[in-house]
């Protein structure tokens, strides 16, 4: 019973956070305030920057291998993508590079 109550609370709060803005501002005929409209246009680009940092936050720069696999992986993804612009190829090569490096370094 205890476990269930915690799971339900976590599920409820998470769902509310996700549904609230869409249900509030995404209704037909409901106009979004201009400031929010502007934010919703530029936020996706900014949030991607945040997600890059967020997904790499556990990186450890003070102990061997000093984040080298992460840096190499990020560089592989960025350069390969600038060159070929093929999402799957970039993600695949970057992940493979990282998986090899964490085993050999």
């Amino acid at each position: 019973m205890y476990h269930l109550s915690i799971v339900l609370v976590v599920a409820g709060v998470t769902t509310a956070l996700r549904l609230l803005p869409v249900m509030l501002f995404g209704r037909r005929g409901r106009s979004i305030p201009p400031g929010l409209m502007y934010l919703s246009r530029v936020l996706p680009s900014a949030i991607i920057g945040l997600l890059v940092v967020y997904s790499l936050k556990a990186i450890n720069l003070t102990a061997s291998p000093y984040g080298l696999p992460e840096f190499a992986g990020v560089l592989t993804a960025a350069l390969l993508h600038k060159w070929k612009r093929n999402t799957l190829l970039s993600v695949f090569c970057a992940t493979a590079c990282y998986m090899v490096l964490i085993r050999v370094l």
Binding site: A11, G35, L43, G49
Partner: protein
């Protein structure tokens, strides 16, 4: 819903390849979750319930800790607010796109994880593909990967036949790729850079466990300061 099988099949075919990087990352992260949950004494039914009903990677890991440490519902609610507050901003920025999605809307909003948001905010449905079904299939496929992974983890425990350590790097790699996509669009370059820089500063100040909420608020502030410039530049 309207649209025949052809419309749906076309949308599914367009959606599936886009979700492949997420499949790699989600399977690995979800298997890890299933394994940990099993260790905490909660089996496959719990894995299914949590991955279907919470569907938030980091938060599901945290929930295991909450349950083990005997946190109260109130503490759990606060923790969820802190960890998942960033989803408010996903909703705000997708509300325009999801405006005309009808009955799908509650599910599309519920399924806005970091990865689903990143895929759908960056991309429009390809030419000639029904955008509502495209959003729907990207969302559903991603959640299926997540559910399947957590069940696998729960059933297999640590007896997985191969060493998948590190495959979760598909997630940061995907974000970097999407970042490059934004970088190459002139109008998106400055906001992308502002987000990256602000997040880095907040990570240094607040540390890895508490930086997302201050970073989100600060990013909104920085974007409002840049508004004149960004709106003038188009």
């Amino acid at each position: 819903m309207d649209g025949g099988d052809g419309v749906r099949l076309k949308a599914l075919k367009a959606a599936f390849p886009r979700t492949l990087p997420v499949m790699a990352g989600y399977l690995f992260l979800a298997i890890g979750f299933g394994v940990l949950l099993r260790k905490a004494g909660l089996g496959a039914a719990w894995a299914l319930m949590m991955s279907a009903g919470i569907y938030a990677g980091a938060m599901q890991y945290v929930t295991i800790d909450l349950v083990i440490s005997g946190a109260t519902p109130w503490e759990s609610a606060l923790m969820t607010l802190m960890v998942n507050a960033r989803h408010l901003f996903y909703g705000i920025s997708m509300s325009e796109k999801y405006r005309n999605t009808g009955l799908m809307k509650p599910y599309l909003a519920f399924a806005l994880t970091d990865e689903t948001y990143a895929l759908l905010a960056a991309d429009e449905a390809p030419e000639g593909v029904d955008s509502r079904w495209f959003y729907f299939f990207v969302s559903v496929l991603n959640q299926l990967y997540w559910i399947i992974g957590s069940l696998l983890g729960s059933f297999l425990g640590q007896m997985l036949p191969f060493d998948l350590r590190g495959i979760d790097f598909a997630m940061p790699a995907l974000f970097v790729v999407i970042f490059v996509e934004h970088w190459q669009k002139k109008a998106a370059r400055l906001p992308a850079l502002a987000g990256l820089g602000t997040a880095l500063v907040c990570l240094l100040i607040f540390g890895p466990d508490g930086f997302t909420v201050p970073a989100m608020l600060l990013i909104c502030g920085v974007l409002m300061l840049l508004r004149g410039r960004l709106e003038a530049g188009g």
